[in-house]
């Protein structure tokens, strides 16, 4: 079947099998390989992207289910050379070690801050429950999310 998506602002139309998962369309057919496949069982969150603005695990969404939707991957965040505030905060706070979970962590954070622009530390930890860091670098990740939220707050 034919699936048409708007990915990072660009139209992507592809012929896919009915069983094709969104993450495979993005990685293998749209050349957007930043989104990782980790556990493949909707536990780890490495495959998190935004579907119409809300975080989803793209290993557990059929490409067909996303037909007609707007998808944002981590490749779509930066404005040219300028990193998105969440990306910048992850760099500044050293919120990554091996980097495998980072695209998913960043997208889960963007979704969180859209829903709750000023979260408490506890709310950040709860909101990132669906994203696992195999280096267990959670403290710096939480610091980065709080820093990104504070950066966005009007002073």
């Amino acid at each position: 079947m034919k699936v048409t998506l708007t990915v990072n602002g660009h139209e992507v139309a592809r012929e896919v099998e009915d069983r094709t998962l969104l993450v495979h369309l993005l990685r293998d057919m749209a050349d957007l390989s930043a989104t990782n496949v980790g556990c493949d069982t909707s536990s780890c969150g490495a495959c998190t992207v935004l579907l119409d603005g809300r975080s989803v695990k793209s290993c557990t969404v059929l490409a067909a289910q996303a037909d007609g939707s707007e998808i944002t991957t981590v490749e779509g965040l930066a404005a040219g050379e300028e990193m998105h505030p969440v990306q910048a905060a992850f760099r500044a706070e050293h919120a990554l070690q091996c980097g495998f979970c980072t695209p998913g962590m960043v997208m889960a954070t963007v979704s969180l801050l859209a829903e709750n622009p000023d979260p408490t530390e506890e709310q950040v930890r709860t909101a990132l429950e669906g994203n696992l860091c195999r280096c267990t670098g959670y403290h710096n990740i939480v610091r980065a999310v709080l820093a990104a939220a504070s950066e966005r707050r009007p002073r």
Binding site: E17, R19, N131
Partner: protein, 272 residues
């Protein structure tokens, strides 16, 4: 991991979904958020020939207040249920428990009707709906009918739904006793409950203590007779058949049930 091949159909209305289900026969399944079904399909534990995507039926996503009850459309997402001001005021047990399902990504996709139809005894909402004495509205080829939740869960992943029938609405009576509690014991935040407990007034339901969500009848009788929470909770494991698995043996789960029921009854009492 990808699912075995199947044919994908998207329904534009409830009527069309029901027609597609008749065409698909026994090997067709409805697909809502897909967060229970797609993982099973990847593992080949479910191999439907046809998936009928009902996920876009906005007409089944709503929360509304009526005389004496609240109606929740079957395709209302866990996230929407968790954030509803109406539910926070009228059915805080349901709103709170929906916010404990999975993680934010899962709650964005998963739906209340999908969770009930899937009937996993380890899932949170089946026990909550059981404790709330809700009525499920189902539609099939021969029309609409109401199923009391007490008659809905038949066995592991088995419900009273007939082939081709789908849940359209969950009707929850407004509780007489406002005291409520939801207790969920997990190893990690995103896990299914090893044991969970839903309490509304004197109604107590258990997560993952048998092949279906269970009412803790012996506890409820003790509560009705005026027993203190600690005494009533001692009966929490009566009539259960908890699973034995890597997360815990049956005696451990029975112990957890007694502890969590006591905590649940105490918390509910503090809120009533």
């Amino acid at each position: 991991m990808i699912p075995a091949p199947f044919t994908y159909k998207r329904a534009g209305s409830v009527e069309e979904a029901l027609e597609l289900a008749v065409d698909g026969g026994e090997e067709a399944k409805f697909l809502a958020g897909g967060h229970s079904l797609l993982p099973l399909m990847k593992l080949r534990l479910a191999v439907p020939e046809t998936l009928i995507d009902i996920g876009r039926l906005r007409e089944l996503s709503y929360i509304s207040e009526h005389d004496g009850h609240i109606s929740v459309g079957a395709l209302t997402s866990h996230d929407t249920v968790a954030r509803s001001d109406l539910l926070a005021a009228e059915l805080p047990l349901l709103a709170y428990a929906a916010g404990q399902v999975g993680d934010p990504q899962v709650r964005h996709r998963g739906t209340i009707g999908g969770s009930l139809a899937h009937a996993d005894p380890a899932a949170d909402l089946p026990a909550v709906i059981l404790a709330l004495d809700a009525t499920l509205v189902a539609r099939g080829p021969s029309g609409s009918r109401e199923i009391p939740v007490a008659a809905f869960f038949r066995d592991l992943f088995e419900t009273a739904l007939e082939p081709g029938e789908m849940i359209t609405e969950i009707r929850v009576p407004k509780p007489r006793d406002p005291g409520w509690s939801f207790q969920k014991f997990t190893k990690r935040g995103i896990d299914w409950a090893i044991v969970g407990v839903a309490v509304q007034g004197g109604s107590v339901a258990l997560v993952n203590m048998g092949s279906t969500p269970l009412r803790a009848g012996a506890v409820e009788r003790e509560v009705a007779a005026g027993s203190l929470p600690g005494d009533a909770a001692a009966h929490a494991a009566e009539g259960t058949s908890a699973p034995d698995d890597l997360n815990g043996g049956r005696p451990y789960r029975e112990h957890l049930a007694r502890v969590l029921v006591r905590r649940g009854l105490e918390e509910a009492r503090s809120r009533s």
